[in-house]
């Protein structure tokens, strides 16, 4: 597994805020995703109802997940596919390597797979003498740059055109060093040409799966480039990496989810290539793989069932939450330190790698609620982040000063008249001290606030005092 830098979220965030290139990329990319999702939702009158339908399908599936997993296995096997059950990332890595070795694979093309990142399959293959080649354009460049993806559907969200040019110049050494890139199209064409060779040479193709369908034993991928299809059609062997909560019961259920997926993710009504794969090539087929394997991974999902975090298993990985998150929009995905950034990463990561490692992430939220308001399957993300904060508090993972501060406040909050007395005294004192300027650039005990911003001075009375006065005088506040 990639070593998570999530414990260093605060330092990562500081660095991200000071990174001019990253800030330029975030300023450009975030608003466009937001606008496009809004337009797509507005153009479909049934969109809100479809969100409810999507949530209900996922809830039903999770409540019967064992049943659907078994049905899926039966259908997949009947169609000539092979299912590999993997409880842990280790087992999944072993399964993939074994399949590649049996196929005498030298190079492996990859469609985008977050499960692949989660189990760090590329490193594992490389350590064992097999070359993985990312084919999604965004994944390709971050592979060249030895970076993690910074966004779950737009891996190169954090890059600007000059980064693409410099990385291509450095890596594609067989091309003339003095060639010019006039526009984005030139970069695209160079990538297309380079990757075409790799597609054709690959022995094995590995893709993720947006959905698994129990009715037919199928896996579904959703792309715009066509790289996932080239990855799964050209090589002799196709491996699907999927976690257990990707399951849906029927094609019709999958279709309902597809109606909200692309609209929530990129603002498209439907992605360019939505492909349903069921087993290997059939007798008479002129193309297609000879073998079809599904590596089905648990890795902490079953442990979320029956807990307060079960709702998180509804996630369909659209990225709407992070597109709309003000924190993600300020620091980007790498600050979160692991595979899944933004609000969904803040909820999922502690479940998968432990709240002791990932505890900062649910605290990196203002609870503005935008994520929940755009989630196509209505996951109550701020509520789940609050559960994590409660768990941290119970386990004494919260910093000592914060616990002390909370205890101090709680003592007063349990004694309402004392509370009101204390706040009136504080309001009066601060009001007097700050009357001239109207604000404080520095305040003792509040440097966490005042180091970056001014604290406005209270303007005299507390609300309760003013209310009580008004009541006595028989008028409104």
């Amino acid at each position: 597994m990639h070593t998570a830098t999530s414990p260093a979220f605060k330092e990562n965030a500081h660095r991200a805020l000071a990174d001019a290139g990253l800030q330029k990329a975030l300023a450009r990319s975030g608003p466009s995703f937001i606008a496009r999702r809004a337009a797509a939702a507005a153009a479909l009158p049934e969109f809100e109802q479809l969100r409810d339908t999507a949530r209900d399908i996922k809830n039903h599936t999770l409540a019967n997940l064992d049943f659907y997993l078994e049905e899926y296995e039966a259908k997949l096997t009947a169609a000539g596919g092979k299912l590999h059950w993997c409880a842990t990332a280790d087992e999944a890595r072993d399964a993939v390597l074994a399949i590649c070795r049996a196929a005498n694979a030298r190079t492996v093309t990859k469609g985008k797979s977050m499960i692949g990142e989660e189990i760090a399959i590329n490193d594992h293959l490389e350590r064992n003498g097999i070359t993985p080649v990312e084919t999604d354009l965004g994944e390709y460049i971050i592979q060249l740059r030895h970076e993690l993806p910074s966004h779950i559907i737009a891996p190169a969200f954090h890059l600007n055109l000059e980064d693409w040019e410099s990385t291509f110049r450095k890596s594609h050494t067989d091309l003339p060093a003095d060639r010019t890139f006039h526009e984005r199209r030139d970069v695209l064409i160079e990538a297309r040409t380079k990757l075409r060779e790799r597609f054709l040479a690959a022995d094995v193709g590995i893709t993720g799966a947006n959905f698994l369908i129990a009715e037919t034993g199928s896996s579904v991928i959703v792309t715009n480039e066509g790289n996932g299809d080239l990855t799964q059609t050209l090589p002799r062997v196709h491996i699907v990496l999927a976690s257990i909560e990707k399951m849906v019961p029927t094609i019709e259920d999958c279709t309902s989810l597809l109606r909200v997926l692309a609209r929530s993710a990129t603002g498209q009504d439907f992605s360019v290539y939505t492909t349903f794969s069921t087993g290997a090539r059939r007798p008479g087929d002129l193309d297609g793989p000879d073998e079809y394997h599904v590596v089905l991974l648990d890795n902490g999902r079953s442990a979320m069932l029956g807990t307060e975090f079960q709702d998180m298993l509804r996630c369909i990985r659209c990225a709407a939450c992070m597109n709309h998150c003000p924190v993600y929009g300020a620091v980007g995905g790498h600050a979160y330190g692991w595979v899944y950034p933004g609000p969904m990463g803040s909820v999922l990561t502690p479940s998968l790698i432990g709240v002791d490692q990932a505890g900062h992430l649910p605290n990196a939220s203002t609870f503005c609620g935008k994520c929940e308001s755009v989630c196509p399957v209505r996951i109550p993300l701020p509520g789940l982040m609050r559960h994590w904060r409660e768990r941290e508090f119970e386990r004494h993972l919260t910093p000592g000063t914060m616990r002390q501060g909370l205890s101090f406040w709680a003592w007063f909050a349990r004694r309402p008249s004392l509370y009101r007395l204390a706040t009136r005294a504080a309001a009066w004192t601060l009001g007097r001290a700050g009357r001239k300027r109207g604000r404080f650039a520095k305040l003792p005990l509040a440097s966490g606030w005042t180091s970056g911003r001014d604290m406005p001075a209270p303007e005299g009375e507390t609300f309760f005092a003013r209310y009580a006065k008004a009541q006595r005088a028989g008028r409104s506040v």
Binding site: A87, T255, F276
Partner: protein
């Protein structure tokens, strides 16, 4: 066995053992009848509006469409398209009986090889199983007579679609497939426009890895 470990862990989370037989039978019944959920009103238009919706959606997604009255008019439509786009006239074509029945010899300049596509092919001609008006989407199931590589390797894909195979919603296309086929084919591609990427600075560019042009020839064989 890991299979049992995972299933047991799932059941532990759900606080129950395996589903009782009557509940399992009910869920199996639901899968067998695969009920539809909410279908947007836009996918349920009557025929003439449905064609307009399909055409608008194909063009919205950067595909192009040519309408012809009958299969005999297809060779001319294809030859004209290639000429206007300045594309070569060697084509690789799906070995589908409906395409084979088209009188290609009326345009002798078109050289046609039947079969799957290779990396050197520039133009492919594919048989569309169905068209879905809801988003201007083509359903392209794999088959010996409909190879998948025709959708992926050529620079330009030309899809021949009969208007009688145009449906409103995805669900209608899936029902057509279920009726005409026993079991899923290896692969069903739902294609909406040419390949593209917005990975570079979130700006849209066509022709990422798949075809950079998608042209639909619509045979209006329906009244």
């Amino acid at each position: 066995m890991t299979r049992e470990t995972i299933l047991t862990a799932v059941r532990r989370g759900l606080r129950r053992g395996p589903l009782p037989p009557d509940q399992a039978a009910m869920l199996r019944g639901r899968m067998a009848t695969h009920p539809r959920q909410l279908i947007p009103a836009r996918s349920q238009l009557p025929y003439p509006e449905q064609i307009d919706l399909f055409l608008r959606n194909v063009e919205k997604e950067f595909g192009t469409v040519a309408r012809v009255p009958d299969p005999d008019s297809v060779p001319a439509a294809v030859a004209d398209y290639l000429a206007v786009q300045n594309l070569p006239t060697s084509l690789v074509m799906a070995p589908h009986p409906e395409l084979q029945a088209i009188p290609w010899s009326t345009r002798p300049l078109l050289t046609i090889r039947e079969g799957r596509a290779e990396a050197t092919d520039l133009v492919s001609v594919q048989h569309a199983f169905a068209g879905i008006a809801e988003t201007g989407t083509l359903m392209l199931p794999s088959a010996p007579e409909r190879p998948t590589t025709l959708n992926l390797l050529a620079d330009t894909e030309i899809a021949i679609l009969r208007a009688s195979r145009l449906v409103g919603a995805y669900e209608d296309a899936w029902d057509l497939l279920r009726a005409e086929r026993n079991g899923m084919p290896r692969n069903v591609m739902l294609v909406t426009g040419p390949s593209r990427s917005a990975d570079i600075e979130q700006a849209l560019e066509l022709g990422a890895h798949g075809p950079r042009r998608l042209h639909v020839v619509l045979i209006e064989d329906r009244v």
